[in-house]
């Protein structure tokens, strides 16, 4: 980021949430880079940016779409880059119909299931047919949603049968991606931005000029986002929209360019790479689905076809190596590498669905590990009520968080909905070790693994998760030893023999070595692998997470590499280890032109050295090292061998950056603006109000407010958005117990504009009650000019800011009502993230009622708005009424 000439921070409050990362923005700014902050609120980031542009929460695709339109219509796109490195010239299937033609829906929508059949979005094949995805036919959108399939592309794109695409290099054919994109965004104009986002045409012009003037051969623009983009019913599409813009401007794979995800937990990247996620196996391999991946062959072919381009073509080697790592000698060619030891999905089994099945008494036991769902998850009441249905609950944390104490001091005890003496749940609180009391690696937001050495032993009965789960696994295996029950085989055959120290605790480096993988046969048997390209599909290698292979190359823990930064260049390759292959900038082949020369001296990064016959530069080239720029291998070869010399996007099935996504997204091949689940305005772009593919849960304990012009929408007239403060950390488990942090932000508050305070009679620093369709909470009132009423579609839209760090309990130094109690559960269909950045509410002065009166207040609002479980949950919006049909 320090190399950027313009930095757009949108959907992120970087200076507050990542203060130390912000030093690179500050440094770029000191060198003259322009910093623009687009956010509903004027935050500490806005305070130090060149410009703050207030936006209505949830309208980002309108703005980004208008920027795409601006770039195309003003002919400001980076022609050589776009033609060579993106799929702009690729032709799409003749049956494709755009959202422009179908009132906001793409071709293939099935109103019965509420999902898309994406086959008409496919590329046209050279022969005239379409290029499908491999495996047993095209996956229906609803199935893909159920397994949050979008998530799987954390390290690359979805599969294609092959890469023999049809191209029109002139970009004139109306079926080229370029023409489709151009047409799709033609109505995303500055006027539309003004109408939907509340951004003036002057501010739009400022932003459009800033990013286009700072993109091209000599200059690059960078986007930074966080959960302000992801936590929406079309969150994935927010990021896709930015990716399209950045590809058109030629800002991907280049220094000072890209789209940077700013993640909020020390190892949230790591916990996706080695996923504690229902839908994934390590290295972004999918969890198998019943009916789709019933055999091992079906499973690997669905991940990557041997005929497609790029490194996903070797998916079988990655999968077999994982199975060998887990089940060792029990994984054989004969038993398909113990593939049937893996449990199968047959629906969405994410955290919110899990809580709903707790309420149905289907879940008996729940482990909560360093997380505080009673405060930090949407619809907090549903979370706590769900836990009250459990037979047993294990909470492992540093402090007695609200998720461990809800049974005696939670909000439902106060409201009378639960009585401690009636709750059957057994609760185990297990004290955890802190980051200095155990050794291990975190993967930070730029995919860098950094090892922490243990400084001291944990106090008292505190334990690391590594110790706990190792011991738990041992106990379970001991208790099952001798079992002849076939279902116990995966546990008994599991490789669980880690070397231990004098206390019987496993050595973390031994686990890292297993993750890295090793040769199992041949002269190198037992030796660590050096690169994922060494993985084989014949059972001769093992690897617990293929993208991490190399971190333990030569038996050295490279995550612990600590050559001081001041002794290295800016790329600092000898500090920690980045996946894959210690590359710091992905797709960096794009930092050179098609002929392999740097686009400019100023933005030089990786280039082709003709004499050496290989790619060289400041970083590890993210490309076959000796593939010359002009090479044109036969696409039939498949895999990395099929990559042409100008196919920089090596994890994509055609080697190109995708302006248009023919596969992989369940809610449309192009980002399209839909309103949030709850919105005060109607969608001015299409009759379709909300994302038709969103996942809705219409239930009495998860009601939605009416939107737009629908009756009852005025009962919840304001937009609220939730966020973090610098002084706290998420649900407070690591900050509200610390005196120094607690005193800096002691109380829950809401941020409102002076206009809204006047409209509702809110006293500065007095109390206010905020009511949503789910719950009501109280907060102190912070009246500030930093909140700006926006004029949207001719109406004034007030937005209310709610930090979400506090929770109701008695053990923390500071407590308060939890903003997440106000939120409902409606999910993005690609990755199943909830919409927590935009929803509807009312606000009024004074504290909230106590006890049963609180429930009465919420019910009274629901009754006045006429809400039922169906409200807001219709898939297709009735174009006539502006209200949603209730199906």
């Amino acid at each position: 980021m320090a190399n950027a000439d313009c930095i757009v921070i949108q959907g992120s409050n970087m200076a507050e949430c990542h203060p130390v990362g912000y030093q690179w923005v500050a440094e770029a700014k000191a060198r003259g880079a322009k910093v623009i902050h687009v956010d509903p609120r004027f935050t500490r980031t806005s305070a130090v940016a060149d410009k703050h542009i207030p936006i209505r929460a949830g309208s980002d695709v309108v703005l980004l779409g208008a920027l795409i339109n601006y770039v195309i219509s003003h002919d400001l796109w980076f022609k050589e880059y776009v033609s060579a490195y993106t799929n702009a010239a690729t032709l799409v299937h003749a049956d494709y119909r755009d959202a422009e033609d179908l009132g906001g829906l793409f071709s293939g929508f099935d109103p019965e299931t509420g999902a898309y059949d994406p086959s008409s979005w496919s590329y046209a094949e050279e022969g005239g047919d379409t290029i499908d995805e491999p495996g047993p036919g095209t996956e229906h959108g609803s199935d893909a949603s159920d397994r949050a399939a979008g998530h799987q592309f954390g390290s690359g794109g979805p599969p294609l049968e092959h890469a023999k695409v049809q191209r029109d290099e002139t970009l004139q054919d109306p079926r080229t991606v370029f023409q489709i994109v151009k047409r799709h965004y033609a109505r995303y104009t500055p006027e539309m931005v003004q109408q939907m986002c509340g951004i003036t045409t002057e501010d739009f012009e400022y932003m459009a000029r800033a990013i286009t003037e700072n993109s091209g051969r000599d200059r690059t623009t960078c986007f930074a986002y966080a959960v302000g983009w992801t936590q929406h019913t079309l969150g994935t599409q927010f990021i896709r929209a930015a990716a399209i813009l950045q590809l058109l401007l030629g800002n991907m794979g280049r220094p000072g360019g890209g789209i940077m995800a700013l993640r909020g937990h020390a190892s949230i990247q790591g916990s996706s790479d080695i996923p504690t996620l229902f839908n994934l196996l390590p290295g972004y391999l999918p969890m198998p689905s019943a009916g789709r991946h019933d055999t091992f062959r079906e499973f690997v072919e669905a991940i990557g076809s041997k005929k497609q381009k790029g490194f996903w073509a070797e998916a079988d080697a990655y999968a077999i190596s994982l199975l060998k790592a887990w089940w060792g000698d029990a994984a054989t060619k004969e038993n398909d590498w113990a593939y049937d030891y893996l449990p199968r999905l047959n629906g969405p089994h994410g955290t919110y669905q899990t809580v709903m099945s707790m309420l149905e008494d289907k879940v008996e036991g729940y482990f909560v590990l360093g997380q505080n769902p009673a405060v930090g998850s949407s619809n907090g009441r549903m979370q706590r009520m769900g836990m009250s249905h459990l037979k047993w609950l294990v909470v492992r944390d540093l402090n007695l968080i609200e998720s461990a104490t809800w049974w005696k001091d939670g909000p439902e005890i106060e409201s009378g909905e639960l009585r401690t003496e009636d709750i059957e749940t057994e609760v185990f609180f297990m004290p955890a070790a802190t980051h200095v009391e155990k050794a291990g690696s975190f993967t930070q937001t730029q995919r860098l693994l950094q090892w922490r050495h243990q400084a001291v032993a944990p106090p008292g009965q505190c334990q690391s998760e590594l110790q706990f789960f190792f011991l738990l696994g041992q106990k379970i295996r001991e208790k099952l030893a001798g079992s002849t029950d076939e279902r116990d085989r995966p546990l008994l055959d599991l490789t669980w023999d880690y070397p231990v120290d004098e206390h019987g605790d496993p050595e973390p480096e031994a686990v890292l070595a297993e993750i890295n993988g090793r040769h199992l046969t041949g002269p190198d048997a037992g030796k660590p692998l050096s690169a994922y390209t060494e993985l084989r599909a014949d059972g001769s290698t093992s690897s617990g997470c293929w993208i991490y292979t190399g971190v333990y190359a030569d038996g050295v823990n490279h995550a612990a590499n600590r050559k001081p930064g001041q002794e290295q260049g800016p790329v600092a390759p000898e500090w920690g280890w980045a996946w894959p292959a210690n590359r710091r900038v992905l797709y960096n082949r794009a930092s050179a032109d098609p002929a392999g020369k740097p686009w400019s001296e100023r933005k030089k990064y990786v280039w082709w050295d003709q004499e050496k016959g290989q790619w060289v530069g400041d970083d590890v080239p993210d490309f076959p090292i000796d593939r010359a720029p002009g090479s044109r291998p036969d696409p039939e070869l498949g895999g990395s061998a099929a990559l042409a010399g100008d196919d920089p996007f090596i994890m994509q099935a055609d080697g190109k950056g995708w302006l248009f996504a023919p596969k992989g997204l369940v809610d449309g091949p192009l980002p399209t603006h839909y309103e949030p689940q709850e919105s005060p305005v109607s969608n001015a772009l299409y009759p379709q109000q909300q994302n038709p593919g969103r996942m809705t849960y219409g239930r009495k304990d998860n009601l939605s407010a009416p939107s737009g012009g629908s009756p009852g929408a005025d009962i919840y007239p304001y937009v609220f958005t939730t966020y973090r403060l610098t002084e706290h950390h998420t649900a407070g488990g690591m900050s509200r117990w610390l005196p120094y942090l607690s005193e800096l932000q002691p109380e829950m508050f809401c941020e409102v504009s002076p206009e809204l305070a006047a409209e509702r009679g809110l006293e500065p620093f007095g109390w206010a009650t905020i009511i949503s369709a789910r719950s009501a909470i109280e907060a102190k009132v912070l009246v500030t000019d930093r909140m700006t009423p926006l004029t949207v579609a001719g109406h004034t839209v007030h937005q209310i800011g709610l930090p979400y760090h506090w929770g109701v309990g008695t053990n923390a130094i500071v407590s308060g009502d939890a903003a997440n109690d106000l939120l409902g559960v409606t999910l993005d269909p690609n990755v199943q993230i909830q919409e927590s950045k935009a929803a509807s509410c009312d606000i009024r002065p004074g504290r909230r009622p106590r006890g049963a009166d609180l429930l009465a207040l919420v019910a009274e609002y629901q009754a006045r708005a006429g809400i039922t479980p169906e409200t807001g949950n219709a898939r297709i919006t009735d174009p006539g009424s502006g209200s949603t049909l209730e199906d």
Partner: protein
């Protein structure tokens, strides 16, 4: 403490040093003269990484008598260059906080109280419940006879604050046991 010579008396030092207003070295106490940063007294310094957000700032952990006495930024880190935010700066307090729980607590069904438990007993009890729930809620096949071999009776939430090695063991153990509802903050 040894009796100090009268030459050490501040007033004498004031006169002999020329610092008649008594503002400089003449008034320094032995404690002041011996002052030294507690980081310099550490038995060892251990390199670590901040546990809060995902920037991954380098930390140096100073340990004396097997206690953490200070945590500050690691200037060698090319990511953070020695700097820390308020949370990172408070991480010594995270470790040594007086409010931190260091013993196992157990709440029996319908009880209004916590009770303490031996660590080994607690793990044993959890293992028993795990096995029992798994047996009771086992799903071998779906209604079409396709393999499921799983339990929907056990779920887990958490991982984004944990180590890669820890997430690996969690995913491995749960998957082998057939528990699929494993989730973390990445989806929240």
């Amino acid at each position: 403490m040894a009796r100090r010579s009268f030459l050490q008396w501040p007033v004498v030092r004031q006169v002999t040093s020329g610092d008649l207003l008594g503002r400089g070295p003449s008034v320094t106490s032995p404690h002041t003269q011996a002052i030294t940063p507690r980081t310099a007294t550490a038995d060892r310094v251990v390199q670590s990484v901040c546990p809060y957000c995902a920037v991954g700032c380098g930390q140096r952990v100073y340990v004396k008598d097997e206690k953490v006495i200070q945590i500050e930024g690691d200037p060698d880190s090319p990511i953070s260059r020695g700097r820390l935010c308020p949370k990172g700066s408070a991480s010594e307090q995270l470790v040594n906080s007086p409010g931190r729980q260091t013993s196992v607590l157990y709440r029996a069904p319908r009880s209004t109280q916590w009770q303490t438990l031996d660590l080994d007993t607690a793990i044993d009890m959890v293992a028993d419940r795990f096995i029992e729930t798994r047996r009771r809620t086992w799903e071998q096949e779906d209604e079409e006879g396709r393999l499921l071999r799983r339990t929907m009776g056990i779920a887990s939430l958490g991982g984004a604050t944990l180590d890669n090695e820890e997430n690996y063991l969690i995913k491995k153990l749960f998957t082998a046991a057939g528990a699929v509802q494993i989730e973390n903050q990445a989806r929240i």
